[in-house]
Each structure stands twice: as C-alpha cells, then as structure tokens.
C-alpha cells in the first residue's frame, strides 16, 4: 500500500488553497483561521474529534457556508459562495450522512452529477435536435463508465434507496465523480463500514487519485487515514492543531491528547483523590458496622 502512496511530486500545482478560513455562527466560532492546501495528485486527510469543525470546514470549501473570514482558492481563483458554482469550478463532494436521490435510479443519480458538464437547457430538451441526442448519449456513456468503475453497472436500473449501504456510499462517490472534478471532498466515506468494505473504499480512493483527482477526506478510522493519506491535518475545536505526514501526526502527542485527553501533570488532584478514597473507605466500614 505504501508503495502506491509515494507518487506525489513535490512540484505539483496547488489545487485547493484555503487560507485563514474562519466560520462563526453568532458567538460560536466553529472554524478558526484554518489554512489548508491540497496539491494535485495528493490525498489529504482531515481528522479531529467530534465537533472539531471538520464538516463545517468542508461546507465552507463547497460554498454551502460562506466563511466569515478567509479565502478559498481553487487552482488560483477564489471560489464563489454558491454550492453549484463551486461544483462547476471543479470541486465535488459526498456527504457524511448519505444524500443520494433516493427515488431516482442508480444511473439517473450519476446523470444528475453530469449536470454541470452538460449544457442542454429546456429548449434543447423540447426541440430534441441532434445536439441533444448526442449530449444525452455521451452523458449516458460517461455515467455507465463511472458505474463500471465503482462496480455497480449491473444495478443501473435499481432505485438508489434499494442499494445496500456500502453501494450507496460508492454511488455517492460516482455521482461526485460525474462532474469531472479536480478535487474530491469525501466526508467520512467509510462510516459504518466493516473492515473489508473499508479496504475496498481505500482501493477506490487510490484509483481516483490515479485518475488525477486530488482527494481531501474526513475520517475517524485512523488506520484508514494513515494508510491512505499523503498528508494529514488535525482539527481540534475549530483550529488546525498539526499538519504533516501520517507518521508525524500519529506521533504528535497533542493529537493523542485531543482524542484521548491528557494525563494529569504532577498529580494536581492527588490530595482530593486521597480524601475521596478515605471518605469512601470510612463510609464502607460504617455501613458494614450498621448492618451487623
């Protein structure tokens, strides 16, 4: 696996450049002054405990939220604050809780993903000229390619809601890929998956990277993240705590502390603990005495 991850050239162009992104909801600062860059051909992981602001940061990147401060650049241009324009620019995403078009078929879901890369409007649909037919055929072809890529070509006519959970996750990725993105944002792609399914997803993400698409992934599964990513950033309470190679981040004791908490330094509560223990011991002997 590691042999596959070391393909990032140092001189790669920067795909995503978020600088000083801050998101406030009233008095609550969900994301504070976060910088993050993703280079072409890179898989970057974003980790952090629950409520650290990872998904909020994602939403700032994709235009669902407009960051209170800071700029997000995609390939050098500042992203517009509208989700559909961000997708048009070349950033596609999946959602933490699967958001497929449940009552559309698998194929239709992917076709919807093609929306930004096709232009046929209402008039073209009504008049059905040769251009329309060509574009529809091309969209279908591309969608079927993507379904083959994720291995769902045989279920193209099924309703999305009837797919098993793992396939729904995959379909969401295919739908995002349909917009021919330069950067794919995956929000917990392996949540709720068993180890085998996680392995498959890992392979899938490597394959996506090999297609030349940079990937930014939020995940809680540390084995998955450290296998997969070229670089990992850790968000804690809205701030970027550390960023570096998986090895560095894994070794960083602040990250461990953020996830597990710190041991007491110099036993600041030792006296209190002793007091409590003494009181407990006392009460136990007393109750024992009373019952006898």
């Amino acid at each position: 696996m590691n042999t596959m991850t070391t393909t990032t050239p140092e001189t790669a162009t920067t795909v995503l450049d978020a600088s000083g992104v801050t998101m406030r909801f009233g008095g609550l600062t969900a994301v504070r002054n976060v910088d993050l860059t993703v280079k072409a051909g890179e898989i970057v992981g974003l980790i952090g405990p629950n409520g650290a602001g990872k998904t909020t940061f994602f939403n700032c990147l994709t235009g669902l939220y407009v960051p209170t401060e800071g700029k997000v650049r995609y390939k050098g241009t500042v992203l517009p604050p509208k989700p559909h324009l961000v997708t048009q620019a070349g950033i596609a995403r999946t959602f933490q809780n699967i958001r497929l078009f449940a009552n559309m078929t698998v194929l239709e879901n992917v076709l919807v993903g093609r929306h930004t890369r096709t232009k046929e409007g209402l008039w073209s649909a009504l008049l059905r000229g040769p251009g329309f037919k060509k574009a529809e055929a091309a969209s279908h072809e591309r969608a079927m390619e993507l379904l083959e890529f994720i291995g769902l070509q045989d279920k193209a006519d099924h309703l999305a809601r009837n797919l098993p959970y793992g396939d729904q996750r995959k379909l969401e990725i295919a739908r995002a890929l349909a917009s021919d993105p330069g950067l794919l944002l995956l929000d917990e792609p392996t949540a709720g998956m068993n180890p085998q399914e996680t392995r498959v997803t890992e392979e899938l993400i490597f394959a996506i990277r090999d297609m030349g698409i940079a990937v930014l992934v939020i995940e809680h599964d540390m084995r998955f993240i450290f296998n997969l990513c070229d670089r990992v950033a850790c968000l804690v309470q809205g701030e970027k705590l550390v960023e570096g190679s998986p090895g560095e981040v894994q070794a960083d004791e602040r990250v461990v502390a953020a996830y597990l908490g710190t041991p007491f330094e110099g036993d600041p509560g030792a006296d209190e603990v002793a007091e409590v223990e003494a009181a407990e011991a006392h009460s136990t002997t007393r109750t024992e005495g009373e019952t006898q």
């Binding site: 509208k82 449940a102 929306h115 009504l126």
Partner: protein, 594 residues
C-alpha cells in the same frame, strides 16, 4: 404453524372444480337474466322492462357477466382464451365477479329505492341477483394465485385481500408486429368506447353503475396481467401508441350527435391540460403550488381582454394565435414575478405563499372594476360576450359538417383543446426525460445534494414554475373562448366546479404524480363525477376527502404509478429490499378488520 397452507387455501372451503363450475354457471345465469325484464315500469330510467334485449344498467351487468365468464373459462385452460390471463387466473375472476355483483346489486337497490320497494322487481332481476351472488361466493372458493408466506394467521379480511393478489405475467410470446399494432389500435378503440360511454351516460344511475363496473373490470384486467402486456407493447411502439391515443381522442366528437356531452369533454380537456401542467411543477419539481389556477385565470383574462369583446377595457381584437402567445407570455411573466421571490422558500412555506398569491390574483381581478381600482376587468362581473374564434372564415361558434358528420360548435373547441393538450403532453414528456427533468427530480429529492451536484436550484425551480404557468396560460386562452365569459370566481382555491387549485392538485395526486396519463384520468374522473352525479353536490367534497384518504392508504402512488413511484411504494422484485409493503399492508388490514 405452517402458514403457507393457510394462505393458499381459498377464502371459502369449496372444492376448486366445483367452485369454478359454479362461478361459470352463476355468471351465465346473470348474463341470461339481462335479456329478461327486471322491472315492470319504464319509470326507472333506461327501460329495463323489455324481454329480449338488455338496456341501460342491464348492458353494464351483461359486460360484467361476460367478463367474469371469460376469465373463468380462461381458468379452465380453454384454447383461445388462455391469453386472457397471463398473470393471475383466479383473482381477476373474483374482481370481475365483485364488479358484477356491484352493478347487479346497485341496480336492484336503485330500482327498489326509486320505485318504492322490492315488489317492483320482476323475476328477471331476482335471477340476475342470485346468479351474481352465486358467482361471487363460488369465486371465493377458487384457489389463490400467489402464495403468500406470512408469519401470522390471517384474518378473514386479510385472506380476502390476499386472494386478490396476482403474480406479474411472464414473458409474452413473440407476436408479429402487425398483430401488436392491431392490439394497440383495438385497445385504444375500446378505451375510446369506454370513455365515450362514460361521458354519454344520460342519468346518474347509469353513471354509478358505469363507475362500479369499469373500476372492477380495469382492476381485473390489471390482475390478469393484460395491462402489463399492453403497456409492454405500447412502450415498444411508443410513437404509434401515442398517435393512436390522440387519434382515439380526436374521434370522440364524431361519436356525438349533440353538443351536450362535447362541452363536458372540452371542459375535461381543459381541466386535464392544466392538471398536466401542474404536474410539472408538483410531480417533477416537487413544488407544492396551491395557487396554480391563477395562471389559468391570467391566460383567460388576457385572451378575454384582447378578444374584441365590448366589455373589454381595451378595444382591440387580436387574432387567436396572437392572443395565445400573449396569454402565454403574460402567464410566463406572472410565473416569474411570483416565482422569483417565493421559490427561495421550501416545502410548506412555498405552499402557503402560492396559496396567498392565488387568492391575491382573484381578489385583485375582482377589484379592477373602476371603483376600487382602475377599470380593467369589470370586477366581479367579469368579461362577458367573448366572441367565438374564427380561423380564416372557419367560425368556431357554428356547427360544421366534416366527412358527413355534423359536428357541433364545441367540437371545434374540443379539437383546439386537444391540440393544446398534445402540446402539453409533448412538453411534459420531453422536458421530463432530459437534463432539466432530472434536475427537477433531483431538487425534489434532496435540494442540498442537488445544489452540491452543480444544479442551480433557484434557476431550475423557476424554469419549472414558469413553464407550468405558461402552459396553464395557454389553456386559459382557449378556456376564455369556450366559456365566452370570464369571472374572478372561476379561479378560486377550492370550489364546486373543477378547474380550481384544490381540484387540480387532487387530480394530480389521485391520478399519479409525475405521470402523463395519471392527471388526465384523475381530471376526467374529478370532472365527470360532479357533473354526472349532481344529486351528490352537498356531499361531493366529503366524498373526495374520503376517496383521497382511501387512495392514500391503499395506493399511495395514485391510480397510475410512474416507474419510480412503483418502485418506491411496491418494491418487491428487487434485491436487499425488506418486504415492508407487504408487512405494512397486513398490519394495516388487521387494524381495519378489528
């Protein structure tokens, strides 16, 4: 407990051969009785006193009996009849038998009530009734078509409902294409005949009987798998099927000798066209528009004001093509003006705001009378005396003789409205199966995800809203000339006369959201029932409420389900799907049965 035996045993413990023989005999008995006199006096409409040939309700009973008999004989495996039941064999018999008993029982009941007592029944009616009862009882002794494995012991009601289930038909035998096209033509011919018969029913008793028998017969045809076969053929020859459907519709005026029923048909077409336009907004894009009828009104008022009527504030007379374009354009503008601010809202809020705008239109038009506002629309008096259309000397207000048939004035409007409907059907089907149609459905499913896929939600919704408004406006321009008067009260939210917002929505939901034929059938039913059963007028809305509740309970996808809805509500044939619809049905019927 092995429940399978429970499920597959018939509802009534009669040996199958005896049950089948008795069903056939009962149906034949009723069939024979329709040629006898059922009552002694011609006071009961339809003249059921004649021995020798059937009349009125007897014809409907005859159809029910013949259908039951055919399905029963098909169950015997008689060569030449087996094609009738590619799907279920016995459930269509049961349904047809129930329809037969329904019409027969209704007729007997209606004669007794209207003429004052059962003494008014001749022996023929008794023979028919006994025959129908035998048919139903015996048909309940026929085995189930489908094994249903369930864990609980079914209640009698569940058992009965299970006995109506039928498997989907298998792969059909390949037929030569001329035969398949002939089947399409025959099917639409029968369809035309059935619809024409319904529109032409002269008295309420006949219409009720018609509703009963068509309801059961159509369900029986579905269970027998014939509808599945037919729809397979029509999808194969789609353009021929569509052409045949419209040809059948165009033939309708030629079957009419007076204008009376053509007017009903024109109004059904107007209603259906507008309902189909609403289906783009509600069914595809998922925007609950409760003020849709206002756009019909905008089109109608625009056409009325430029029609050259003396009551118009503008003394202009546009040619019809110009007034259609103007009506469409004005509706489009209204659609955009109303849609632009409101479409930022979602769900219930949009419904409330559109409801408000619909009422604002009506009230505003009622006030533009020169007293409380500028004189444009004559206020509550409306715009009367809208002249009939005139195309190059072809006066729509007069009757014409075409191909030796005398066509009344409304037949002209019928044809014109049919053209408008073809346009709307074309727009619906083409827009629906395209990039923009998929975007609409995606927005309906999950707006956040749709925008994340690069769909400009606001723009796409506005297109749907404006397109719906434009189509309603076009229908409105024709409506103004058909009615020859437009008044604000025609465009209310809810009222007793069909094209109003509530009825339009009901037609879409009743018929089936997102389909083409659904709203057309829904609109036809919702227009004909009040028009034919005027004695019901006080209970009409109550009846609709009940009908809608029952429909939502038993067939939430509407009468006609689109492919998606069918999968959505009745997903049994697919992988990884828990049989939840089945479980839901059984638990629900337990409650209903308790």
């Amino acid at each position: 407990m092995t429940t399978k035996t429970h499920q597959t045993t018939p509802v009534l413990p009669i040996p199958a051969p005896a049950a089948r023989a008795a069903t056939a005999a009962g149906a034949a008995l009723t069939l024979g009785s329709t040629f006898l006199a059922w009552t002694w006096t011609a006071k009961f409409p339809g003249d059921l006193t004649v021995t020798g040939y059937p009349g009125g309700l007897q014809v409907l009973t005859l159809v029910g009996a013949a259908l039951t008999l055919l399905f029963t004989l098909s169950g015997y495996g008689i060569k030449g009849l087996r094609w009738l039941t590619p799907g279920g064999t016995n459930s269509p018999v049961r349904l047809a038998a129930l329809g037969l008993l329904g019409t027969m029982g209704f007729t007997v009941g209606a004669i007794s009530v209207e003429l004052g007592g059962v003494v008014n029944l001749e022996p023929g009616a008794w023979i028919g009734l006994v025959g129908a009862i035998i048919t139903v009882v015996a048909s309940l002794g026929l085995p189930h078509d489908q094994d249903i494995t369930d864990t609980a012991t079914p209640s009698p009601l569940e058992k009965f409902l299970n006995s109506l289930r039928a498997p989907a038909p298998g792969r059909p035998k390949e037929l030569p294409s001329w035969a398949e096209i002939l089947i399409i033509v025959a099917a639409f011919g029968i369809g035309l005949f059935v619809v024409t018969y319904g529109i032409d029913t002269a008295y309420p008793e006949l219409f009720v009987g018609y509703l009963i028998i068509t309801g059961f017969a159509v369900t029986a045809l579905f269970k027998a798998g014939l509808m599945a076969r037919l729809s397979a053929i029509t999808t194969k020859y789609r353009s021929i099927a569509v052409a045949a459907a419209f040809a059948a519709a165009a033939v309708f005026p030629f079957t009419q000798s007076t204008d009376q029923y053509t007017l009903i048909a024109v109004n059904i077409l107007i209603f259906a066209t507008v309902a189909l336009g609403l289906n783009i907004v509600v069914g595809l894009a998922g925007l609950l528009d409760l003020g849709y009828v206002a756009f019909l009104g905008v089109g109608a008022y625009t056409a009325a004001l430029v029609s050259g009527t003396s009551a118009s504030a503008f003394g202009v007379q546009f040619p019809f093509w110009a007034s259609v374009l103007l009506g469409a354009a004005v509706s489009l503008i209204f659609g955009v003006v109303i849609g632009a601010p409101t479409l930022r809202l979602r769900g219930d809020y949009l419904a409330i705001v559109t409801l408000g705008f619909g009422e604002i239109f009506r009230i505003a038009v009622g006030n533009l009378d020169g007293v409380s506002g500028p004189r444009v629309t004559n206020g509550p008096n409306g715009v009367p005396n809208i002249p009939d259309l005139n195309f190059f000397g072809y006066d729509f207000g007069e009757s014409h003789t075409i191909l030796g048939f005398e066509l009344g004035a409304y037949a002209n409007y019928y044809m014109l409205m049919l053209l408008a409907m073809i346009l709307v059907v074309l727009v619906f089907s083409r827009a629906g199966s395209s990039r923009i149609g998929r975007a609409w459905v995606a927005i309906r499913e999950d707006e956040t995800a749709a925008t994340a896929m690069g769909i400009n939600g606001f723009r796409v919704k506005l297109i749907a809203f404006a397109l719906g408004a434009t189509l309603a406006g076009i229908a409105g321009t024709v409506q103004a000339h058909v009615q020859s008067t437009v008044v604000p009260e025609m465009y209310v939210f809810a009222g007793p006369v069909p094209p109003n917002s509530a009825f339009l929505l009901a037609a879409v939901i009743l018929g089936g959201m997102g389909t083409i034929s659904g709203p057309l059938i829904g609109a036809a039913l919702l227009y004909m029932i009040p028009a034919k059963l005027q004695f019901l007028s006080d209970y009409q809305l109550l009846g609709f409420g009940l009908a809608l509740i029952l429909l939502m309970r038993f067939r939430p996808e509407g009468l006609i389900a689109n492919r998606r809805a069918k999968l959505e509500y009745h997903e049994t044939g697919q992988l990884d799907v828990p049989d939840e619809t089945l479980a839901g049905t059984t638990s629900g019927t337990t409650k209903a049965g308790a």
